[in-house]
Amino acid sequence: MSTDSIAAPRSNSAQSPKYKRNKASHSSFEMFAWLFMRLSGVVLIVLIFGHLFVNLMVGDGIHAIDFGFVAGKWSDPFWQVWDLAMLWLAILHGTNGVRTIINDYAERDGTRMTLKTILYVASAVIIVLGTLVVFTFDPCPPGAVIDLPSFCPVP
């Protein structure tokens, strides 16, 4: 509706321009976030395209994926680092992206805070979980019967 009115830009600031804005407290957080988006983006391209290629294109494609496939990959430190980097970068990149989106669209401060809290908690949980999984992963879990990678000792 055109009748909606909005607060003046940065309406909490003074009416007339202040020239002593050169506050030392000024943080460059937004700048680093912005820069991080670009840097992580470039790295992610490599990581994600590699990931997709190996998982979906090579061999039997998606049908080749099973426990054994994953276990096989993660027994190799190269893929461990790869996937870990991808996980961290993608989550941080995505979280920051969604943070900007929340900043854009959540009008009230309350909503903004709630949404961001949910976002950060979710991201943190996922990062921790993912990291744990990659590191504490045991390719040959005892008692498992199917799809084990070939190098596992046959029980």
């Binding site: 983006g41 494609g61 049908h63 199917i146």
Partner: protein, 115 residues
């Protein structure tokens, strides 16, 4: 404007998928059976199509991300942004066509062929 809308939407879609994807992959920690059961779900053709869409989204987001970076850092980026966008779409098509052929044949052949 529309490239940005696309970028934003694909960004969010990928992010949500990523959350789910990490969760399901975590199941490898729980038990191979559980993981395989879930990954099995990815193997039906509906999911196969969904996956194709996801890849389409990632590829668009990735290439457009590069375009944005070019606009930000390359002197002539802003001037050629429109051409760059066409480039993104072209690259996107070029990437997607072989992928779709490959992916969809796998998805469907294995499904109908009875794995």
């Amino acid at each position: 404007m529309w490239s940005w809308v696309g970028h934003r939407i694909t960004g969010v879609v990928i992010f949500i998928f990523l959350l789910v994807h990490v969760l399901d992959t975590s199941l490898v920690r729980v038990s191979p059976e559980a993981y395989t059961a879930v990954i099995g779900a990815y193997k039906n053709p509906i999911m196969g199509l969904g996956e194709a869409a996801l890849v389409a989204a990632i590829v668009f987001h990735a290439f457009n991300g590069l375009r944005i970076i070019a606009v930000d850092f390359w002197k002539k980026g802003p001037k050629y942004q429109r051409q760059l966008l066409w480039g993104v779409l072209a690259l996107w098509a070029v990437t997607m066509i072989p992928f779709l052929i490959r992916h969809l044949t796998i998805v469907f052949s294995n499904f109908f062929g009875g794995h």
